[in-house]
Amino acid sequence: MMLTGLLIAPVVTAVPLAFYGHRRFAPYVNMAGSAAAFLFSVGLAWQVFDQGPIQTSGGSFFVDAFNVFLAVLTAFVSMTTAAFSRPYMAHEFKQGRVGPRRMRLYHAMFQLFIFAMLLALLTNNMGILWIAMELATLATVLLVSLYRTPESVEAAWKYFILCGVGIAQALFGTTLLYFAAERVLGEGGTTLHWTNLNAAASSLEPTILSLAFVFFLAGYGAKVGLVPLHNWLPDAHSEGPTPISAVLSGLLLNVALYAVVRCKVLVDGATGTNRAGQLMMAMGLLSLVVAAFALFLQRDVKRMFSYSSIEHMGIMAFAFGLGGKLATFAALLHMLVHSLVKSSIFFTVGHASHMHGTQQMDRIQGIIRGNPLVGWGLVVGVMAIAGLPPFGVFVSEFLILTATMREAPFLAPILLLGLAVAFAGLLRKVQPMVFGAPPAHQVPVRAAHVPVILHLVIALVLGLFIPSFLSQWFETAVSMMRW
């Protein structure tokens, strides 16, 4: 019941928004729909927590500790993003950057995008997973070009084409997976069910699965934004409206990484080695280092934080690749805190760029004097994302570093280097924006403070102590992976 509700809520909300998305009440409908989805997701999580993994009768949907926590996170961040989007998009509407038709498109596609991510998370069928991932791209591509500036159209086109290329590789991987599975499980719709594949993983042909993983990693890895397949990401995440940047960076990357991890579990089961993990570690470290240095070169504030997302996805891919209880636990925690902190940063950055009428960092100054809550929100967010204690990101990065020291000590210096460079880059860029005297072109805006405060408080709490239900939850998720 909860599952059906969770999947239907965004679709039901999208329908009226497609027709009345430009009206005054539309943002509230958007918020209500997302809140309903969040309540359903909590209900679903409660069920899973209480009874263990749930599988629907036909086996089409499968909910376990791993994906339900991501579903709750997705529903939660989309709810707070809807709350942030209300004043933000009202400002854009008033400025004339978007007309009524595009407001309708924006609201309807926002909900459809949430639906696509939830479908990708909850489905049991590896084929449907692919379809949902592609649907998520399709739902957001027209939102990236919402402002119709030459930059945004170019960004959207790049996003569409490069992710299209990437996702095609993943479909080829799915074909190979089905090819391997058909020899063991027989033909039919249930053969691609992850639960069936997982049960039979040890008898799947390792040669085919290894090749399939290369295609999966190239395909879904492109959507995660792993270097060298990251080219589209800074453009797409910086040119669209800020609420979309927040959900792209905070949620879609997680969902894509989730897809990679699900594939990795199957491949590890078939090969009995951690070769798939080594590939992920290599790409993860490369992403971390490349993105950390790229931070220094940025002039556009949203673009800079998109690179920071690449950096953090690299850390997570590395940790999942490393495997083992500690690293996997840390990677799950990192997914959670990164998503919360990064979306809160985008919220504050969105308001800051409205205050200054630009996203260029050298024209943004003295945010704290202009709007203390927005300014300090950004400072705290950046401290959290850079990995300073006492925030959650510090804990997860510390755990990942500890696991690396134990399992692969020779990689620890590279990891540390990446983290340090990223830290320095962010601090250097953000400091002049928040402190100092506000410039003459700064104007006050109506800001949504609650989402930012909520996200940062949760990230802070997770840095101080991890509630027992959450750690128990993560441990259940960890125990389902093999290495």
């Binding site: 379809i131 299209g164 090819f179 070169l297 002039r299």
Partner: protein
């Protein structure tokens, strides 16, 4: 008809699909590109139908029909209307180094054979020899998307790549489960519609569908 004969027809049609992949790489004129794409879809549909007959897999007939409707009729028609309405039929792309592109294409075909040969050994289907061609078709579509500078050509590259993916599913396993195949077809159809929207957006912002005018989003190196 004997199975050997059918297998040979399948091989022939696969070769034609691959050949058209090369044709797409080299063709400059928009309409000709569209026709080549439609032909590729037609051979693909014929190939699928023959596999369906030869292997006695009923649901592949449906897949063949789906391909025929989508790839030979519907999508080329949508593109045709768009090209006509936007008056871009006279656009001729300036392409650099066609021979080099074709050589890279050949290298990709060799690579595909190399990658797929250990996998083919596990297959007992009548289509086992076409698995490498399917991957090669995907790779050629990818190459086309990278080398072309015209929006319509990139879209046709995308669709040709999708042809290769469908082809791969047919030759590896006689098609994916129906739910998946329908979902993929739906995604492609939505993608084609969005591409249409994009043509207008690109045209109005850049005044041409030539994407070499897009170069605003680059890293600022050296502050």
């Amino acid at each position: 008809m004997s199975p050997v004969f059918l297998a040979q027809v399948v091989d022939l049609l696969s070769a034609l699909v691959l050949l058209l992949g090369f044709g797409l790489l080299a063709q400059r004129r928009i309409y000709a590109l569209l026709h080549l794409f439609a032909w590729q879809g037609l051979f693909l549909a014929a190939n699928t139908a023959i596999v369906a007959y030869g292997a006695g897999v009923r649901h592949l007939y449906f897949s063949a029909l789906l391909t025929l409707v989508m790839k030979v009729a519907l999508i080329p028609y949508i593109l045709h209307v768009l090209i006509q309405r936007m008056k871009i039929e006279r656009d001729v792309e300036t392409m650099v180094n066609v021979p080099l592109t074709l050589l890279i294409g050949i290298a990709l075909v060799v690579l595909s054979y190399n990658v797929m040969s250990p996998i083919q050994e596990f297959s007992t289907l009548m289509t086992r020899s076409t698995l490498a061609i399917a991957l090669a078709t995907v790779m050629l579509g990818l190459l086309m998307m990278i080398t072309r500078r015209h929006a319509v050509a990139q879209v046709i590259g995308f669709l040709a790549m999708e042809n290769g993916l469908f082809f791969a599913a047919t030759s590896a396993t006689y098609g994916m489960p129906m739910v998946v195949e329908l979902g993929v077809a739906l995604d492609i159809l939505i993608a084609a519609l969005i591409f249409g929207v994009f043509f207008f957006q690109i045209r109005t912002t850049f005044e041409s569908l030539d994407l070499s005018k897009m170069a605003r989003l680059k890293e600022d190196v050296g502050e």
